[in-house]
């Protein structure tokens, strides 16, 4: 099993602590079947000098601690068969952006050492972390691999998005209760998904056709049972135009009511 990136530097006051869903993401992407699929799709050794040799842009939305993106970056050779991927992390939480940058850089350093015996001595380069709502800041058609572990828990209300400036304030002057309130709010953003736990995911699904790179873009989205993933997959297939959705990872029965699945969304070109 490939090692989980270290997140000991992360303060989980406002950031989701890696849990079963995060680990399902790691296991799914590193599974032999999914790695083989991705490696074939992003084949770096293609002999024709076409677009397929271009470095894939790998974006995670809602990175939190950065454990998923850090894992993908550090294990790019296993997952994509190439190290020249371009990992970009997006989160509405400034702390999560900073944490992810560190998690990814540490994980790459840890896994990709100057080992002469390795066939590939290239190193993956973590691009940046950006604060944004879902894919709003990304150029249309630019994303090759999109990953989203959403706030999927059904909740009465959907928490509002943070305002532009509220994360610029200095925490040190905050009262204990004010800090507690603020921390609870930011944590609620990591799990509370509103109606059916789908309000944020639905917004993301709408963005997918515009965000993914024509020809090779693919998205991975996590769902819990209450999100009704079977219906979601049907909905995606109904987009027509070759859109596909398939379950490529699941947490099995032991997780009880919170059974989790990861769905791959892509377009089959004729």
């Amino acid at each position: 099993m490939l090692p989980t990136p270290c997140t000991s530097h992360v303060s989980f006051d406002t950031i989701y602590e890696p849990s079963e869903d995060s680990y399902l993401f790691l296991d799914t992407l590193a599974s032999p079947s999914e790695s083989a699929w991705l490696t074939q799709r992003f084949n770096a050794t293609s002999s024709s000098p076409n677009q397929s040799t271009a470095s894939p842009l790998v974006v995670e939305l809602g990175t939190g601690s950065g454990v998923v993106l850090g894992f993908v970056a550090a294990n790019s050779q296993v997952i994509f068969g190439r190290r020249d991927i371009l990992p970009l992390g997006i989160d509405v939480n400034r702390n999560a952006c900073i944490a992810t940058r560190e998690t990814a850089n540490k994980a790459i350093k840890e896994r990709q050492t100057d080992n002469e015996s390795e066939a590939n001595c290239q190193k993956t380069v973590y691009l940046s972390s950006v604060m944004a709502d879902l894919g709003s800041s990304l150029r249309p058609g630019s994303v090759d691999v999109l990953m989203f572990n959403p706030p999927y828990v059904p909740s009465e209300d959907l928490p509002r998005l943070p305002s532009v400036t509220e994360q610029d304030v200095d925490e040190s002057g905050m009262s204990r209760s004010a800090k507690f309130e603020r921390d609870s709010y930011f944590l609620s953003l990591t799990y509370a998904g509103g109606r059916d736990g789908m309000e944020t995911t639905d917004r993301l699904l709408e963005e997918i056709p515009g965000l993914l790179a024509p020809g090779r873009g693919v998205a991975y989205v996590l769902f819990c049972a209450q999100n009704r993933p079977q219906e979601v997959k049907e909905r995606i297939r109904a987009w027509g135009d070759g859109w596909q959705a398939a379950t490529v990872g699941n947490s099995g029965q032991q997780a009880g009511w919170e059974k989790l699945v990861i769905v791959r969304i892509w377009k089959e070109t004729a």
Partner: protein, 126 residues
Amino acid sequence: MKLITANFLTCAVKGCKASPASFPLHFRDAELELQELDFQPDFIRNIVPRIDWHALQIMANELGFPKILDKKPEGDELKDEQILKELHRLLLETHINEGKLTCGNCGHEYLIKEGIANFLLPSHLV
């Protein structure tokens, strides 16, 4: 934030997406830092096809870098170590720590702090 990141970013305002003026975003008051990184020629060769060359010319110019090639390097130019090294420096080693990115269409400014660009929008623009 590595300079190459801006190659993938655009204005977060919905109405700007369709406007050519919303890309590239324009750096203002940028505080740059050079962070050394191992030079990997093959890596740069595979990044070049991803780069919008015209946008990179504009950004390099706005950040005060020497003029880059008029055209995206191709063929033998991609074997020229000097060309690749300059791109490596510009795209991967150049970090923007503080400053702003502004939209050429709506004029909105996105602040960059500690290398993190903030694309959250005020409520009246969402």
